[in-house]
Amino acid sequence: MSAALDLPFLQRALAAGILVGLATSFLGVFVVIRRSAFFGDAVAHASLAGVALGVVTGLPPLPVAAGVGVGIGLALNRFERRSRLPIDTILGFVLPFFMGAGILILSLAPGYQPELLSYLFGSILAVGPESLAAIAAIVLVAAPLLLRYRGALVFATFDPDGARVSGIRVDRLLVLYQVLLAAVVVASIKVVGIVLVNALLVIPAATAKMVARSVRQMFLLAPILGVGCVLAGLAASYGLDLPSGPSIAVTAGLLFLAVWAYVSGRRASALKGART
């Protein structure tokens, strides 16, 4: 394995995995506490339209997808405020419409599109220098903003009125959150794919929530778990010759199940102890 680490493609895969693992699982804490998992899923699926535009026009697909994802994030915020429809209904429109449009646009490109599968299910081992640069740019912009506004976002989630009275511009903050979420989701597409994006966005944060004793602990634990899942999934993928995206998703899922079983078992023992 150590010799394998000298391989440039594996170095890029590791760098992309660590960057995406950190950013998605940290952002995932907000996704879990704001209950906006469907938002990330919808933006990921809808960004296929951006990938398709990139493939058809010959532009780098990931930056185009990032532009489309952020555009959809902004439009959703506006639409949610102006429409009388609940957000899950709006997302139920966005996901199939843009994904369908993406597949239709791809069908215009001549010949077989092998890249499509890598965007749908991830292909971390195929991350090129261009994609790594796009991922790094997104994460390096998103990370300081998330760190800076972490407390305000928690406040706006927990008590929006209280946050407003404290002088926080809640509406602007939520626009920023949705834009960052859209950008980070698109950055993670190469790692886990459009279909499995919630593996990194939701599972590490949800696992952290089960054991954390404070929101601060959740923010510390989720990125550790996220990066751990990426590295373990990547190792399994390399060692067992398995597809990388599904390996990362299954690793994260197994970790979630193990922690859930441990926490449930402990709770059951505590209840039993209290009865006797």
Binding site: R35, V154, D159, V165, K209, R216
Partner: protein, 253 residues
């Protein structure tokens, strides 16, 4: 300068024919406790939210002579209830510190220590909010509202969901704050006993302001009957009887 000046306040909600509150005007001087009373649906919470700038309104609201936004975060707000995920591991300490700056100054830390000590919540600071009782939860919300050292405090039914001892703790603390730190408090309440005991000014609201003034002048059987549509039923608050050895005052059922 008035602590709070509300002039011709009208709030209309979309799709509703009648305004939720209409032409409400009053002023509060610094260092007073004012209590807004009225039946359910009379617009008490709406008036508070309009003052805070949380709902659109017509009319004028001035806090210490300026627009309300200029006074953030020197306005503290304690909501009646807060719908949040009970499984969220947000601790009382984290909840109280939410309004503080990212890098708190020494005076913020002093304020945090002061409010948590005086409200008696130091032992529960590291407990998640979902594990707190109604009274503990209310004290945490009050601490959060006070940690920024507000000059104006708005409380929406602070006694809702807590027992008699909890009510006394909160109102007693409020009285202390007003006396010692010259805070101005506007409280929505159903508790006539507490109103008569602690309020300097009572505002009777039923979509419109029907009367205002000192409790003994405003809380007459006639005015209460006109406000609530009938003479309110009363129940005994034992602690009051024990404390003063006198006949208890009433609370709305």
């Amino acid at each position: 300068m008035h602590a709070l000046e509300v002039s011709d306040l009208t709030v209309r909600f979309e799709g509703q024919e009648l305004p939720a509150v209409a032409s409400v005007s009053f002023t509060l001087e610094e260092g007073t406790i004012a209590v807004l009373i009225g039946p359910n649906g009379s617009g008490k919470s709406t008036v508070l939210k309009a003052i805070l700038g949380l709902v659109p309104y017509e009319g004028t609201v001035r806090v210490f002579g300026g627009p309300v936004g200029a006074s953030y975060p020197r306005i503290g707000y304690v909501p009646q209830r807060l719908a949040f995920d009970q499984t969220l591991p947000l601790t009382a300490r984290e909840a109280i510190r939410l309004p503080l700056p990212r890098r708190p100054r020494e005076e913020d830390e002093d304020s945090f220590r002061h409010v948590t000590r005086i409200l008696g919540i130091e032992p529960i600071l590291d407990r998640p909010l979902g594990a707190l009782s109604g009274g503990q939860w209310k004290r945490v919300l009050l601490a959060r509202a006070l940690v920024t050292r507000p000059r104006l405090l708005l409380l929406d039914e602070p006694e809702a969901g807590i027992d008699v001892t909890g009510e006394e703790t909160i109102y007693g603390f409020l009285e202390h704050l007003v006396a010692e730190e010259r805070i101005t408090a506007l409280v929505c309440s159903h508790e006539l006993e507490l109103v008569t005991e602690y309020a300097d000014v009572v505002l009777c609201l039923n979509r419109r302001l029907l009367g205002s003034g000192a409790p003994e002048k405003v809380l007459t059987p006639e005015s209460l009957s006109s406000l609530f549509g009938a003479t309110p039923a009363l129940y005994l608050h034992h602690h009051e009887a024990h404390r003063h050895g006198a006949a208890p005052r009433g609370s709305l059922l």
